[in-house]
Amino acid sequence: MAASGRPPAAAPRSRAGLLERRNVLVGILFGCGIIAFIDEAVFHQLLHWHHFYDRSTPDAGLVSDGLFHAFSWFATVASLFLFADLRRRNALDTRRWVGGTLVGIGAFQLYDGLMHHKILDLHQIRYGVDLLPYDLLWNGAAAAFLLAGLLVLRTAGRAGRRGDAADRG
């Protein structure tokens, strides 16, 4: 800000890029954490559709589930602190963060829906019903979140470039 008269030096520029990317990354972490949280609260605890563990899982599924659970737990807490850090640095870019969050939600749910439910056969969405509509809705919603996130990130990138051009002009 103090150096607005001079052309920006190389170092602060790459630093700004780093913080822009960090907005996306923090959003993705938050998305992964929050969707895992919603999955746990809504489908496991409230609806009782998912089972805690249905005892038919191969060991690979158990390990994958354990690692993803641990990662999402870590992501929830770490992303909130990283969000506070971005605010502290005056580097919060809401659009990038929201885009990242949507991408995180979509990617995590798609991984859960395809890898855990279908390939590793960890557990199903619901038991004793025709699964097809549930699977379609689950993975369709995941894909929609992912797509929406990518669109938001694209507009954020465009807005950023326009801002840069305005700065130079």
């Binding site: 805690f52 641990a70 506070a84 502290r88």
Partner: protein, 280 residues
């Protein structure tokens, strides 16, 4: 500190009254000593003219020792001897919550402020010894804390060991010590001469949480096998969800510590650029 008396307790066979009473006494003495030593060190530091540490350290340490006492002596400890669920609750508290509270008490800092410089230097040399340096690295500390836990609880076969009159209390000591070492290696607010990079600590933390969850689910999966206590299923669920709560506390402590340290670096950098600007 607790090993000697535990052996004398184990000489009486079975879990008759004298053995239980002896163990209770040992537990009370150990936890009270830890609390009193901490307060005495704080008093000694004050007599040396040091500023008082923030109150939150004392609160953390004293609640850690109080919680440790509550689960190793008296009704809760006795319930744990007969019920798997009770045992699991005690294990969770001793292995994760008490270590976190003890580490947040910053005992190393309290000790260094209380003793003469000569003793302080000896302590620093001790902490820098290669063996301790290795143990206080997040990865070996994580293995030390999680591997025995995983072996003991994987399929419930370790329950017999946990209820053994001599090995049971020793395993309690192991849970507290290894948990404290791991928490110090990852979160530690005490000075750490060779603190590992944040991403190493974060990785060790995630792996330890994953192992805990996997072991809990596996225990749940085998809970209906013959020979396991009838409440094993409930114990496994408590291990999973209770573990999650303790892990959340650990993660918040870890992230808050990283956040605070990066804030300090940020302020230093700001002061640096300001100084540069004013000198231009």
């Amino acid at each position: 500190m607790a090993e000697g008396p535990h052996h004398s307790g184990s000489l009486t066979t079975g879990v008759g009254d004298p053995a239980v009473a002896a163990l209770d006494t040992v537990a009370v003495v150990v936890w009270l000593c830890l609390a009193v030593l901490y307060l005495a060190a704080g008093r000694a530091a004050a007599l040396r003219g040091r500023d008082a540490l923030p109150l939150r350290h004392s609160i953390a340490w004293l609640s850690g020792t109080a919680l440790g006492l509550a689960v190793t002596a008296g009704p809760l400890a006795h319930a744990a001897a007969t019920s798997s669920t009770g045992h699991m609750a005690v294990h969770l508290v001793l292995g994760m919550v008490v270590p976190l509270l003890l580490v947040l008490g910053a005992p190393g800092t309290v000790l260094l402020r209380a003793v003469p410089a000569r003793v302080g230097r000896a302590y620093s040399r001790l902490v820098r010894a290669p063996a301790l340096r290795l143990l206080a690295h997040p990865v070996p500390a994580m293995l030390l804390a999680t591997a025995p836990m995983a072996l003991l609880y994987w399929d419930g076969a370790g329950f017999a060991l946990l209820h053994h009159p001599a090995l049971g209390p020793l395993l309690h000591v192991h849970f507290v010590v290894s948990g404290t070492l791991f928490t110090y290696a990852v979160v530690g607010i005490d000075p750490h001469p060779h603190r590992a990079p944040v991403r190493v600590g974060a990785g060790a933390l995630v792996v330890s949480i994953a192992v805990h969850g996997i072991v809990a689910k596996h225990l749940y999966a085998v809970a209906d096998r013959d020979g396991l206590p009838p409440d094993t299923e409930q114990a496994a669920q408590l291990m999973y969800y209770g573990g999650d709560m303790a892990h959340a506390l650990l993660l918040v402590a870890f992230c808050a510590q990283v956040y605070r340290e990066s804030g300090r670096r940020l302020r230093r950098a700001d002061r640096g650029t300001e100084a540069e600007r004013s000198s231009n």
